[in-house]
Every structure is written in C-alpha cells, then in structure tokens.
Symmetry: C2
C-alpha cells in the first residue's frame, strides 16, 4: 500500500502552525509573525499566507484585515459552545456506529478498552488519554460518515490545546464509568443510549477543562503577553 504524499508547502505550513498553537509555542491572542515563520520554515510568504487562510476557516486563527493573523483565544463561552456541538456530533456517531459496526470492530474497541483500564488503574494519564482517543476515534469510524468525521475533527483541532491539561480524580472515575457503559451499549447495539452517554461524556469533559484554568477570559492578558 503506497501512500500518496501530497506534500504542498502550504499544507506543511498549516500543520506546523497547528502544532505550534497546540503545544503552546504560539500563544492565544498573540500575533502570528509572518516573516519570522517564513524564515523558520524556509518558505516564502505566499504558501504561509495560504496556510493561514486554511487555519482561519478551521477556527484556529483569526484574520484581521491589514492587521495580520492572531491565534484565537479560547474563552469559556466558546469552549462551552464547542463542546455542546461536539457532543451532538459524538452522540450521532454513537447512534450510527451501533447501526453499522461489525463484530470485529466491537472486539477491537473492547481490547482498547481493557488496555485503557490498565492505564487507569496505574494512573498513567498520558497512555490513558491516548487509548481514550483511539476508542472515540474507532466509534467515529464505525459510524461510516466521513462528513461527520471531518466536521468533528475540525472542531477538535480548536480545543486540542485544553485537552490534556488536567485530570481530576473524581472526573476520571466518572469517565471510566461512562466508558464501561459505552462498551455495554456497543455489545447490545443500543445506539440511542450510546448516543446520550457520549453527549453526557463530553459535558463532563467541559467541566474539567473549565476548571483547569487553561482558558483566558480576561481580555487584557493576551495583549500584554505579546511583548
């Protein structure tokens, strides 16, 4: 299986800027210095600016006419809105998944689940998150809806940076309980219930994210940081 690599410069640039935003190299609210990034990436401004257009329609950056691009700041308002929408999408993915998922896929997810549980018991947070993500992704794939997957993925980009921010034990237990229930639903092909669990599941995540203090609601912070 040969993978066709369509490496365009603007695509590469977009990916790298996305990463820089997620890992905190580019801070929310700060200006994105075109010239500097051009030198860093070794490309001219044309592909870089095209990349910014893409990121803008993904909601990662905002373009102010004649004032360049800024990293979008995640307000609590926006985070709540995004989680609400993602909840609806994941809920749908659960319903559809139960309709189309194969025995093999369910078995795979179960395997991932037990792996995840092992990490949970050992309080290994990173591997836990990794497995957690793969489970949700597997459900999304089982939904057999590419539009859904892309839409969800696009929203997910925006909030990546608050994802692995913190973990409260209380929430963690709840999350694991949710996952247990999810497996049950998959086995029983109970789409409706899986849907509601997934919607609720995201609601819980929001609480954690909101509590973690990654969000900057104070409009003054970003500007002062740009110096």
């Amino acid at each position: 299986m040969i993978k066709i690599q369509q490496n365009t410069l603007y695509g590469e640039a977009a990916a790298r800027i996305r990463d820089m935003i997620n890992d905190g190299t580019l801070l929310p609210g700060t200006r994105i210095p075109e010239k500097q990034l051009c030198e860093q990436f070794g490309v001219s401004r044309t592909p870089l600016r095209e990349a910014l257009k893409v990121l803008a329609s993904e909601g990662m950056v905002e373009l102010l006419p004649n004032r360049g691009a800024r990293v979008v700041r995640l307000t609590r308002q926006m985070l709540e809105e995004t989680y609400s929408v993602m909840g609806a999408l994941e809920g749908l993915s659960g319903e559809l998944a139960c309709r189309y998922i194969t025995e093999e896929e369910v078995a795979d997810i179960q395997a991932l689940h037990y792996q995840m549980m092992a990490h949970y018991k050992r309080k290994e947070i990173r591997p836990y998150f990794e497995l957690n993500h793969r489970i949700h992704d597997a459900i999304m794939l089982a939904a057999r809806n590419e539009v859904l997957r892309e839409t969800h993925s696009s929203l997910n980009y925006r909030i990546q940076r608050v994802r692995y921010s913190s973990m409260i034990d209380e929430y963690w237990d709840q999350a694991v309980a949710d996952h247990e229930a999810m497996i049950e639903c998959l086995l029983a092909r109970d789409g409706e219930r899986l849907g509601s669990i997934l919607r609720e599941h995201l609601r819980h995540k929001l609480v954690v994210a909101a509590a973690s203090g990654v969000i900057d609601d104070d409009p003054g912070v970003a500007r002062s940081r740009s110096s």
Copy 2:
C-alpha cells in the same frame, strides 16, 4: 450603526465563486479555470488562490496537487452524510433554542410561520423557501451558540445547490405539518421534541433531494463535461 466592511479581495472572490457553484455557473466535477476567473473578477491569481483554499476547507471545492481545483461533486452518499450531520446540529439548535428563546423571538417566528403558510396555500414555492429558511435561521439564532451556527452554515453551503431543486406535494404537506409542530414546541418550550422534529424534518428533505436527480453518482459524467 456603521457596518465595518472588511472587504478583502480573497473574501469577495470566495463569495462569488460560492455563488457561481450554487447557481450552476460552475458545474460539479469541472475544473475551476484560475486564469479565466482572474480576468472576470479583475484580480490577480494570489487572492483567487487564497479564496480557493477557503472554499476547499469548506468542502465546496477539492484541490488536487498540481492539478488545480475542481468543484466537488455531490454524490448521494455525501448528501446523505451531510444531511445526517445537519440533522444532529439542527436538533441541537432546537433543544438549545427552547432553553434560551425570548417571548419576542417566539412571536417573530410565529409571524414568519403565518407568512410562510400563506405562500404555501398559494403554492408560491420561492417565497415559501425564503420564509422557511428564515424560520430555521431564527431558531438557530435563538440557540445562542455561534460555533453551532458556523458549523451548520458551513455544511449548508455545500448542499445549497440541491436545496431549491424540486418540490413534491406530498413532501410539502409533511414539511408544513412539521412546521406546525415546531411552533407548538417553541410555545411549550419542549426542546427535546423540537429537537427530534428538526432531525426528522431534515430526513424528509433528503428524500426529496435524492429523488430530484440533482445528484450525479456516475463518475464518468464530470470528466466528459470539462471539455
């Protein structure tokens, strides 16, 4: 109230290309002739290509490396997927709207509804669609979720071209019945039921669109048309 016009050339170009796709000037599957559009719009290739990047991440066009941009062809598969996702989003909008909508907004929607009913009785299809759209938009606004609105709007762009394609009487009656029920739900603030009605409502639309023959499932058509 002064409206700040952030008219960038690439934004203008994107809007115009979007319209050209929706009104059939640019046919699905055909290549988008950069040079020609540049001359037509009176801009250089730079802003036009930036516009294409935006449209690509909206899902209106697809960019093939070194082979330019093509108008995305709407397959039945894709249309079904899109409607499914939009159903989830509109369903959510219904739930949220019932939570946040004011008396005034409900009254406005009721007014729009009666206007729409008048057009329905006179079988004035275009004005009917117009009001129909405004009602759904008003509900979306009442949901107080900008992320939801943008996400929905972006998906809506893609399928605009099949929207006003045809109208079967049987479906029309059903749609009007749905709308009657929607008003009831809004008055009763029954978010859950409004949600399900909206989801179903979209399912019906899909049937009509699928039957209307706007979709091209044959992979050969587009290529031959590009000559």
